[in-house]
């Protein structure tokens, strides 16, 4: 049996703000039947202030309580104030949740994000169904996200994974599973000659590597066509370059940058590199 606080018990036994708002100004839906949790949040907004909020939840006791708490918390707030509400605030409002139920509060904050996006006419940023198998139940993180972090962010150890994704940071039960997935993906990298199996690069290493690739691979290529390139600056994954010679006035300069320069740097340094022409 879960140890629920009195506030949680009160809110799942007698939830407030249950139902739909017809003509809602924003609707946010997250979760699915497959996951076992789903929440639809309705908000009514007047002059930038949330005047009413209602919810419908398919889920366990703490999911119902988190949803109900959320509607209470956002009523009367401006959109900007509501936007700053995190899952931690929901947990605090409830006087705490069991570690393995933290994901219920995450679902609340995600539904809020989607409802606000909907109000603004934007596409909901949180996907309906997380892909893959949920590994970290506290933070609702799937194996897909962990695998992606290995390949796309070059994460190779558990500490960096926890910092980047939040997986394993609450109860820690899933840490060995996450370590297994990291190892598995690193192994896969090695067989595909993927550069992400290397240790994560420091900024200095990254700069050196970018310079190396530009000098050894990119410049010789451009020079064959009478052009040249100059490395101006590196800011994180953003590489700023200046095109020289024939390239500087070439009609297809942007294509060269996207298809050749950026591709080479992504393949050889990091998948997240973006090129900026200055």
């Amino acid at each position: 049996m879960w140890e629920y606080t009195d506030k949680v018990k009160e809110l799942y036994t007698n939830p407030i703000n249950v139902g739909r708002i017809e003509n809602a100004d924003g609707v946010g839906h997250v979760g699915s039947v497959v996951c076992g949790d789903a929440l639809t949040l309705y908000i009514k907004v007047d002059n930038g202030i949330i005047t009413d909020a209602k919810f419908e939840t398919f889920g366990c006791g703490s999911a119902i309580a988190s949803s109900s708490a959320l509607t209470e918390m956002i009523k009367g707030k401006t959109i900007e104030e509501a936007e700053r509400i995190t899952n931690k605030d929901i947990v605090e409002f409830l006087g705490g949740l069991p570690d393995q139920k933290i994901h219920c509060s995450v679902m609340g904050s995600e539904a809020l994000t989607n409802a606000i996006a909907d109000y603004r006419g934007e596409k909901p940023p949180i996907e309906d169904e997380p892909h893959g198998e949920i590994i970290c139940h506290c933070m609702n993180i799937t194996d897909d996200e962990i695998r992606k972090a290995v390949h796309e962010k070059g994460v190779t150890n558990i500490d960096d994974m926890m910092e980047l994704t939040g997986a394993g940071t609450v109860c820690g039960t899933c840490i060995p599973k996450i370590e297994d997935i990291i190892e598995e993906e690193k192994g896969r990298c090695a067989t595909k000659s993927c550069s992400c199996s290397d240790e994560p690069m420091t900024n200095l290493q990254k700069m050196k590597k970018v310079e190396e690739v530009i000098n050894n691979v990119i410049r010789p290529g451009l020079k064959r066509d009478g052009g040249d390139i100059e490395l101006v600056d590196i800011n994180g994954d953003e590489v700023m370059v200046r095109l020289r010679g024939a390239c500087s006035s070439c009609m297809t300069a942007q294509m060269t940058l996207d298809n050749f320069v950026q591709e080479e740097l992504r393949n050889n340094v990091s998948k997240n590199i973006t090129i900026k022409r200055v």
């Binding site: 799942y12 839906h29 039947v33 889920g59 366990c60």
Partner: protein, 395 residues
């Protein structure tokens, strides 16, 4: 409202008062070590051997020495599977089913990590193992087949006699996880043709912390832990004497009370019919005619099991659920998934499990309170249209 209705007897059962009475002397005056050579220990040993005999009778075992006492049925399952495989070292294949208890499934998963091939025999939509699949899976490398007698979530009973006869012909060791069968349906290890059979005392009104493994005479296996000569070295360590004596008494009573099982089944059927006719979003899970008499597994669509559990809990009705949020696992029931049930039904599944102590009043009370709980949760559900009284799960 002080009504308390315990309908979670597949999780654990009440210790029968007679069982507790039988145990108490062994916590007080009869504290001798059964291995001691003096009278003080000897009379304890005598009581323990009497208990072993009672347990052997519950399983229809021929010899008392075929009963190895353990700490839990999980331990019995581990001892059976690992004990056999570590004897037949050259055989690297194990067969089990998709709906086994985690005690068996995770032991097999560990074997896989150690290089074994494991075949997970699927079940039909009624929850019964696909016996043809099992027969085809057997090969020269097969060290052991482990199949449960009755399922803990659905109560569905597997055709262990047929499986046992098939395996006996081929000389393949057969382990049955009988935790949910013993005390609910007649068990006979000879009819089952099994070599090993695991049980747990607390599932049939005995104490927690004591289990047993039937090991047919002549079965070859190695121990998991090493120590003294207790249990002939198969499971060393000073015996849990009060627990063993309690298990013996519980086994003796279970044999007597098998005659009460039709009454338990009648109450279960009353609950089942009341739910299925009274709540239109409900459906039954598992083979209706091949179930333990005390178990009922029902799905309530469009709502989630843990919330049903919590609402019933407030009314003093205690059940369990196969939803993802159940009992700490956060994974939806692998049993119902193996039966190919849609997720909407798995997450809304509830298990009611009765015992010989369940009364008709308790069932009537449950039937009175349940519709309101389901109705309240449907009103909260985003998949239910309260105006039209219908639900739809988006695909």
């Amino acid at each position: 409202m002080d009504m308390q209705v315990y309908l979670d007897n597949n999780a654990t059962t009440m210790v029968a008062p007679e069982v507790l009475d039988a145990m108490l002397p062994f916590y007080r005056d009869m504290y001798g070590n059964a291995s001691s050579m003096h009278y003080f220990g000897g009379r304890v040993a005598k009581n323990m051997e009497n208990a072993r005999n009672q347990i052997a009778r519950l399983l229809g075992a021929e010899h008392d020495f075929e009963i190895t006492l353990t700490g839990t049925a999980t331990e019995s399952d581990n001892l059976a599977i690992r004990g056999i495989t570590s004897y037949y070292k050259e055989k690297k294949h194990v067969i089990t089913s998709a709906t086994e208890h985690p005690a068996v499934l995770n032991t097999c998963a560990q074997l896989e990590k150690e290089g074994y091939r494991v075949t997970y025999v699927p079940v039909k939509s009624d929850g019964i193992v696909d016996i043809d699949f099992l027969k085809n899976a057997v090969d020269d490398e097969t060290a052991l087949v482990s199949i449960m007698h009755a399922n803990n979530e659905t109560g569905v009973i597997n055709p262990v006699e047929e499986i046992g006869a098939f395996l006996k012909e081929r000389g393949i060791p057969f382990h049955i996880d009988g935790v949910q069968a013993a005390g609910k349906i007649p068990v006979d290890v000879n009819k089952c043709n099994c070599d090993l059979y695991s049980i747990s005392a607390h599932k049939f009104h005995g104490p927690k912390g004591v289990g047993a493994l039937y090991v047919r005479k002549g079965t070859r296996m190695r121990p998991l832990i090493f120590g003294g000569h207790q249990e002939k070295g198969r499971r060393p360590g000073t015996e849990n004497v009060p627990g063993v004596v309690g298990m013996g008494k519980a086994a003796e009573m279970a044999i007597d009370h098998l005659k009460d099982m039709p009454k338990v089944a009648a109450l279960r059927d009353k609950l089942q019919n009341g739910i299925l006719t009274g709540i239109k979003t409900s459906t039954l899970n598992g083979a209706i005619d091949k179930r333990t008499p005390n178990t009922l597994n029902v799905s309530f669509e469009f709502i989630e099991g843990e919330s049903i559990l919590l609402y019933l809990d407030r009314k003093g009705i205690f059940v369990s659920t196969g939803s993802a949020c159940s009992s700490g696992s956060l994974e939806p029931s692998h049993v119902l998934r193996a039966m190919n049930l849609p997720f909407s039904k798995i997450h809304g599944s509830v298990r009611f499990s009765l015992s010989r102590y369940t009364t008709e009043d308790e069932i009537d009370y449950t039937l009175r309170e349940l519709p309101d709980v389901i109705d309240t949760l449907l009103r909260i559900s985003p998949f239910w249209d309260n105006e039209k009284k219908t639900g739809k799960i988006p695909q």
